[in-house]
Each structure stands twice: as structure tokens, then as C-alpha cells.
Amino acid sequence: MASMTSDHAADIDRQVKVYITVFVALMALTIITVAVSRLHLPLPIAVTVALVVATVKGSLVASYFMHLISEKKLIYAVLALTAVFFLVLLSLPAITHSNGYWIHK
């Protein structure tokens, strides 16, 4: 991405505008997250809203600041593999929960 071809240099002005737009969106979404938390919604809804907003913010950072929106296939392959293992890791508590292993009776 950082090969300083003339095409790249020409694109950079357009990219900077995108960075500023993403910055404003991230700021707005942060305020929204805090505002929603003040509504004291039921926990399942609050968790869903917080995670959805965080995922949108994270996607904006990864897509535009980390340039994942236009990356090479190998990077996508590495991240896809990482995502699989990450989901397995996060599913471990859920599996434990379904067995009722640690639930207080």
C-alpha cells in the first residue's frame, strides 16, 4: 500500500477526506454509545446495542485507517483464519455455560 507510485500520491487527497469523515463518524458513535448506556436498557438489549456500535466503529477503523478495504488476499486469508480461532475462543464460555458446569445451584 505504501509504494509511493504517482497513482498513490494522487489518491491520497481523496483518502484524507475519507479519514476525516471516518473520524467524525467515530466521534458521533462514541457519543451515541454513552447516551444509550444512560437509558439503562435491559441487559441483553444494552449488550447488543453496545456490541453492534462497537463493531461498526471497529470496522471503520480496520477498513479505512488500517486499509483493509483494499488489501491483498493473503492478509484476508490470515485474518479469516484468525477470526475462526477467535470465535472458537469466545464460544468456549458459551459451551461451558450450556453444560451448566459452573452455574450456582
Binding site: 500500500m1 505504501a2 509504494s3 509511493m4 498513490h8 500520491a9 491520497i12 483518502q15 484524507v16 479519514y19 476525516i20 471516518v22 473520524f23 467515530l26 466521534m27 462514541t30 454509545t33 454513552v34 448506556s37 441487559l43 444494552a46 449488550v47 453496545a50 456490541l51 456500535v53 462497537a54 466503529k57 471497529g58 477503523v61 480496520a62 485507517f65 488500517m66 491483498k72 488476499k73 493473503l74 492478509i75 490470515v78 485474518l79 483464519l81 484468525t82 480461532f85 477467535f86 475462543l89 469466545l90 468456549l92 464460555p93 458459551a94 461451558t96 455455560h97 459452573w102 452455574i103 450456582h104
Partner: protein, 196 residues
């Protein structure tokens, strides 16, 4: 002997070695924080009661810190964009701002931690504080590590610009990928610990 594929891309990967290297490192970081997030879920769902973060933690300070870290991500990417535009002076301003914002984040965290300790709230107090200090402490170490690399690129590391500007630009890009990842982790830590 020169380090290979710092600027030119490898035929087999289509990437420079530094680029694939930093992404593999970030993949390992995802698993590191993933393990701690999984621990958090396990501990929280297994607890008979769990406090809302805002009853113990300082949400306004953390919100401010979130805005600071997001701003630092923008200055970081602007620092890289300045190099692509061949403007070393502008790069220095943006990189300096990134480091300064990192300092602000750490200072705010210092006040947050101090306030907890003054009130007798330690990692050993309860499970909530244990996972809070573990996750935010590890995150702070990452912020500090990123600042050290950024300071090197702003200072002695910037000599490379004179001899091999493209390589230097790639180094700044890779440091930026790490910095954005640290921002991304905080984006999930903030609601998880402070707001739920």
C-alpha cells in the same frame, strides 16, 4: 547484507515482508486479547451478581480517553499520508501529536487508577476489578509500546527518510497498523467494562 523485501513486494505473497509480519503479529494479538475477553465472559456470566461498570468506574474520563485515542488514530494515519505526499515536516507534526495524545491517554489512566487505589479498590478486591485492571493494564502496556516505536520513528528512526524514503514510509505504516489495533481494542474495552 541488505534486509530483503522491505520496499519491493515478494512474488509469492504479493506483500513486503514487514507488512505480512505486522499482520501476523496482530493476529497473535487478537488471540491474546480474545483469551482475556473470553475470560471476562466466563467470569461475568458465572458470577451471581455483577456491578454495572458506571457504578465503580469514571465514565466521563473514559469517554474523554476514547475520543483521545480515536483522535490519535487519525493523526497517525495523517502522519503516514504526509510521507506519501513527501512532506516530512507535516509528518513530524502529526506524529508528535500522536505521541502527545498517547501521553494524555496514559495520564488520564493514571488518575483513574490512583483514584481506585485511594478508595481501596485493587485487583484483589473482586472479580470485576481483577478483570478491569488486567484488561486495561495490558492495553496500557500496548499504548506505551506503540508510543516508544512512534517516538523512535519521530526521532532517530527518521534518518532513514534521507536514504530510503519508501522504506521509512512502510515502517510508519506498520507502526500505524499496530496503533490502530490498540485503538480498536479500546473501542471494545470501553463499552464492555464501563457501560454494561
Amino acid at each position: 547484507m541488505d534486509i530483503p523485501y522491505t520496499v519491493e513486494v515478494r512474488r509469492d505473497t504479493g506483500l513486503t515482508n514487514g507488512k505480512i509480519g505486522i499482520w501476523l503479529f496482530l493476529a497473535s494479538e487478537v488471540m491474546l486479547f480474545g483469551a482475556l475477553f473470553a475470560s471476562y465472559i466466563l467470569i461475568r456470566t458465572g458470577a451471581p451478581t455483577w456491578p454495572r461498570g458506571d457504578t465503580i468506574l469514571n465514565v466521563p474520563l473514559a469517554t474523554f480517553n476514547t475520543l483521545v485515542l480515536i483522535s490519535s488514530s487519525v493523526t497517525m494515519v495523517m502522519a503516514w499520508a504526509s510521507l506519501v505526499r513527501q512532506r516530512l515536516g507535516t509528518f513530524r507534526i502529526y506524529m508528535g501529536a500522536t505521541i502527545l495524545l498517547g501521553c494524555v491517554f496514559l495520564v488520564v489512566k493514571y488518575f483513574e487508577y490512583s483514584h481506585k487505589f485511594e478508595n481501596g479498590l485493587y485487583p484483589s478486591t473482586n472479580n470485576f476489578l481483577a478483570i478491569y485492571f488486567t484488561l486495561t493494564g495490558l492495553h496500557m502496556l500496548h499504548v506505551f509500546g506503540g508510543m516508544v516505536v512512534n517516538a523512535y520513528l519521530l526521532g532517530p528512526g527518521s534518518k532513514l527518510w534521507k536514504t530510503n524514503p519508501e522504506w521509512f514510509t512502510n515502517r510508519v505504516e506498520h507502526a500505524g497498523l499496530f496503533w490502530h489495533f490498540v485503538d480498536l481494542v479500546w473501542i471494545f474495552l470501553f463499552p464492555t467494562l464501563y457501560l454494561l
